[in-house]
């Protein structure tokens, strides 16, 4: 072994805390690992590639005529809605994969390294934004091919996409939390869809809420998903970054502020 002699424990400078810059750096290293894993196992991307295509086609041809008179007229309403719904659904997979990942031996090493405790989680979630970006792009492309022409222009569409990705990243902390506390990957799926279905369908994603009963409208109007959908519509269709966009961002920040510490704590407890 060509190694030099090892510096003894007492003569090293040591810190018992992790600085913010180190936390960020650790998280990016972990995100790099996540991206490599996605590249190695491209079959994991089936959901983010096929789901946007199938859902967009299905919803527009089934409901287009009934809701907006024609498929063409339904697209400006539907595409932002289906975009939000698809990408948020994708974030459930983040929790499931995290659960599977945590059972691997490599997490023992992560825990034994002098890195920020949040890094393995934040890194995994960060890498998954690549998945959200794929789902977002495909949804818009399918929309364009079907004849959707967002009036807001290209820049506004990109901004809308970034907004959706950012909010989904925030929401993925909820599912990451379930991922950490759950016993198995399949139970994560169970809990997550139970939360997700009411949240995405009881919103303005597919229809305007004024046809709903008033008590339901009340919920739909406070549902953060509705605000996100409205924000995307404003941006893509009118090029306006309005109050709903700010509300969506605020909601995202609140979710991260609550669920990131909860998740890290649960993760440490499992350690």
């Amino acid at each position: 072994m060509t190694q030099l002699t090892i510096a003894p424990g007492v003569s090293r400078t040591l810190k018992n805390h992790v600085s913010l810059s180190q936390t960020v750096q650790n998280s990016f290293s972990m995100a790099w690992r996540g991206l490599l894993e996605i590249r190695r196992t491209p079959e994991q991307l089936i959901d983010v590639t096929l789901q946007p295509i199938i859902f967009t086609l299905m919803f527009s041809y089934i409901f287009g005529g009934a809701i907006a008179g024609s498929v063409q007229d339904y697209l400006p309403l539907l595409i932002p809605g289906i975009l939000v719904q698809t990408v948020i659904t994708t974030s459930v997979v983040t929790g499931i994969q995290l659960r599977e990942d945590m059972d691997k031996g490599v997490f023992d090493r992560f825990k034994s390294l002098p890195i920020a405790r949040i890094a393995p989680l934040a890194g995994a979630l960060l890498a998954d934004t690549a998945r959200y970006a794929i789902a977002t792009t495909i949804t818009f492309v399918v929309g364009f091919l079907m004849g959707y022409h967002p009036a807001g222009g290209f820049g506004a569409v990109v901004l809308a996409a970034l907004l959706v990705i950012a909010c989904s990243w925030a929401i993925s902390w909820i599912f990451a939390f379930f991922g950490v506390i759950a016993r198995s990957a399949s139970s994560v799926q169970g809990i997550s869809f139970l939360v997700l279905f009411p949240l995405t369908f009881l919103s303005n994603a597919f229809v305007q809420p004024d046809t709903m009963p008033t008590w339901l409208q009340a919920f739909v109007n406070v549902n953060p998903v509705s605000h996100l959908v409205t924000a995307v519509r404003d941006l893509a269709n009118n090029g306006v970054f309005g109050a709903d966009a700010w509300l969506a961002l605020l909601g995202a920040a609140v979710i991260v502020a609550i669920f990131a510490p909860l998740t890290v704590r649960a993760y440490m407890k499992k350690a």
């Binding site: 072994m1 190694q3 030099l4 424990g9 002098p114």
Partner: protein
Amino acid sequence: MPASPTGDWAVEAHGLVKVFGDNRAVDGVDLSVRTGTVYGVLGPNGAGKTTTIRMLATLLKPDGGEATVFGHDVRREAQIVRQLIGVTGQYASVDETLSATENLVLFSRLNGLGRAESRRKSAELLEEFGLSEAAKRPLKNFSGGMRRRLDLAASLISQPPLIFLDEPTTGLDPRTRSQMWDTIRRLVATGSTVLLTTQYLDEADQLADRIAVIDRGIVVAEGTSDELKHSVGSASLLLRLTDAASLERARHAIQDVLGVESVLSPEAGRITAPMSDPDSITDLLIRLRADGIQVAELAVQQPTLDEVFLALTGHTASDEETAGDGTTTGAASGADNGLAHEPELETAK
């Protein structure tokens, strides 16, 4: 007394306890590992070895007791402890989907090395552990031995002064095992302190300066390997004859030369006897030749883990669970070189 200023003690643990449900997996373990030595924790499956190591390596929170690594508390100063240790788990703690290089680069980056330095360090370690050719291959195609070597390489990135090895050779074939031993010896030569667990007395004997025998969550014996072996008698003789008719005469010869009562093994024609001095085997052989007794097979073997356990705890290691694929190939000492080795356990006593 914590000896942090001098760094004499790499590990000091007092009364460590870990409870899982109503199972007291570790029930008051005391360990003191002197800096620069190899310390072996020996015990059967389920004895609490891994749990003990996981607590010392900050992977598990102890439910009771105190433990320090170079004077730093594993609970209060966990982050400091993590900067001083390398951990190689029982099941390879490397990422299966990444290649060997990618694994080492990732762990280098996490250890705070720059991009270029990480690449350099990874290449260096792969070279050192004979993994350069497999560097780009995905780990799925790695053999058990290669995986362990990569795992160990990953633990050495930050050149930690203390390395935990949890059953480093379990499941490896004898050749890979001895390679692993060489690697561990070289590691110690660079100044590392090593705390390893093992199910094999032979392994502890080969590598460790001191050994703690652990059973059902407590340390039942502690000392150098010689001290431990003397507590069970240093060796045992195994003799098989070509002609079963001369068995009684052979037992007589053993009685005369070694001064001990021999035992007829269940398998016909085999005699076993405890030995205090392996050297007296020469006298016995001369006597057997003089008596015209023909020897088919003869072996002097170390006390097995089972025998150590039996002596220390009053029950065999395999009572709990089979002690792995288990028997240590009994290269006892130079005295029996060239003689047949019988690696079988003889639990019937």
